[in-house]
Amino acid sequence: MARSGVRLPARLARIAAALLLTCAAPAAAQVDFSGQWAPVYHEDNPERIPGPELADYTGLPLNDAARLQADSWDADRISVVSPYQCRPHSSDYGMRGLGNLRVWAELDANQQLQAFHTYMPAWGSERTIWMDGRPHPPDYAEYTFQGFSTGVWEGNMLTITTTHLKTNYYRRNGVPSSDRRTVVEHWTRHAEFLTVITVVTDPVFLTEPLVRSQNWFYDVGQALPAFNCEYASELPGAQKVPNHLPGTNPYLSEFADWYGLELAATRGGAETMYPEYRLKMGAPHSKPPDRCQRYCTCSGGFNCDVNPRR
């Protein structure tokens, strides 16, 4: 073997060739997302940290079935139905909740990327995103809150497809998501920022895909704890699951009243999510307050004051 006039002994040539194969192989990963990521709550902060208002369905392309189920929801349900007490956010909603995130890569003996793993302390949610080209399991395989995820590279963007998700929610005020949904995520890293775009297709509860995006910043000092959740009977002897039968929920207009919104708009639906809806939007449900009276100051993690002006 000769190159540039240099003659190599056979053994050296073999070592060099092996190194070349190792070093010059195309990078299996385009971007390494490993590390500690702190969530940014600069969008929908009152919904994502203290929690959403009852009957706030704005920005969701819901169908009538989703509204019917959401309208029946009563927060007391969590006190009575023990499986709800420690029910995790699913991997799609988890991106909008308490989203402190650690990512680490799993490599094989040849240093090729096999999977990314993620951990969020909220409900101790751990997830695997397979990068080794394996197929999704058959429909009868187990359904979990994190689902089954596979990823591919599109340039520097990591595109993840998740199936086998248990039923959960699009907003934690009772807006349901079904186990028929498929979630596609696009992860991009720019400087010290991570953006995750989440696209949910749900033939049971959505009329068109729900597209939302969340942001994190790289935080080497972040340390994530374990999560402990204990079931406790808060209403011993309760004989029924708290609920509102159709047409009986008295709280459905509160949200519109507090923020001076048209009631129909707060019911969600794809039509309400496009700019032209503003042209047909009706008057507020009731005379709007002169100024903001609820959650006017939420900007960081927990500095929300429900009624700062009272």
Partner: protein
């Protein structure tokens, strides 16, 4: 043992040399491709903002005093609490909410075209605004502050520590070799609003944006723009949002409207 070590070092060195040679001789440099021709992604066309986030702060003008989600300073809080749209209108500054730092959060449509080989034009029907994204160069020395400021654009380079020296491609190859994002930095902005209800940004504001394109299995094309606003006067830290736009087949829903103060 020494011979073995020397052999190994030699092999490593030769591998590095071969790898460098494999990249080809430097040769005479060809003319760099113009940004338009080098575009890894086509952002041209009509796009609509789909409001799945911050709905009640975007689709309607929020109530006075509502600065939720934005990391404002106490000084900004005073401005928020004294917002008076009539006063803005009388002063002829009804476009304060349509400046570059807030524009992409407004509901509306975006039309992107190439003005020339190095300038991408971004128009919005909401407020009838035009942004020019200049590839290469720096803002002119005497650039006058405006609602849209001066934007410098580039096709994002692979993630790498700024200023890091080039390294030998041995034992580590550069990752992130196929960036597809459009990176835009905007300065020289006239003070304006991050929201229509008067959440302010000042004249020291700067704006970083990253446009990412993606296509869904159903054929829908989207871009998401991650926006980072830095303002030492009115923000406690970077204000970070990401706004999602879906491509439309044509401009049939394009409706230019003037700025409104409320």
């Amino acid at each position: 043992m020494k011979t073995r070590t020397r052999s190994l070092v030699a092999a490593v060195w030769l591998a590095a040399l071969a790898t460098l040679q494999a990249q080809g001789p430097p040769g005479p440099p060809g003319p760099p491709r113009a940004p338009r021709a080098a575009a890894p992604v086509d952002f041209t066309g009509y796009w609509v903002s789909v409001i799945a986030e911050d709905w009640r702060w975007r689709m309607v003008t929020p109530l006075k005093g509502d600065a939720a989600s934005i990391p404002i300073t106490p000084e900004a809080r005073k401005v928020v609490d004294s917002w008076d749209p009539a006063k803005d209108e009388a002063a002829g500054v009804q476009c304060k909410a349509y400046g570059a730092a807030g524009l992409m959060r407004l509901p509306g449509r975006v039309h992107m075209t190439w003005l020339d080989d190095t300038t991408l034009k971004l128009e919005t029907d909401s407020g009838t605004q035009t942004r020019l994204l200049h590839f290469g160069g720096t803002p002119p020395a005497k650039e006058v502050p405006s609602w849209q400021g001066y934007s410098v654009a580039q096709w994002e380079r692979p993630p790498q520590t700024p200023g890091a020296p080039p390294t030998l491609p041995i034992f580590a190859t550069r990752i992130g070799t196929r960036g597809r994002a459009l990176e835009v930095t905007t300065t020289h902005l006239r003070p304006g609003y991050l929201r229509k209800n008067g959440v302010p940004y000042g004249d020291k504001v700067s704006l970083s944006e990253y446009f990412d394109y993606f296509k869904e299995p159903n054929g829908d094309e989207w871009f998401t723009v991650t926006t980072i606003v830095r303002d030492p006067q009115y923000l406690n830290g970077p204000f970070i949002t990401s706004s999602d736009f879906k491509k439309e087949p044509d401009g049939s829903k394009w409706r230019p409207t003037p700025c409104t103060p409320r």
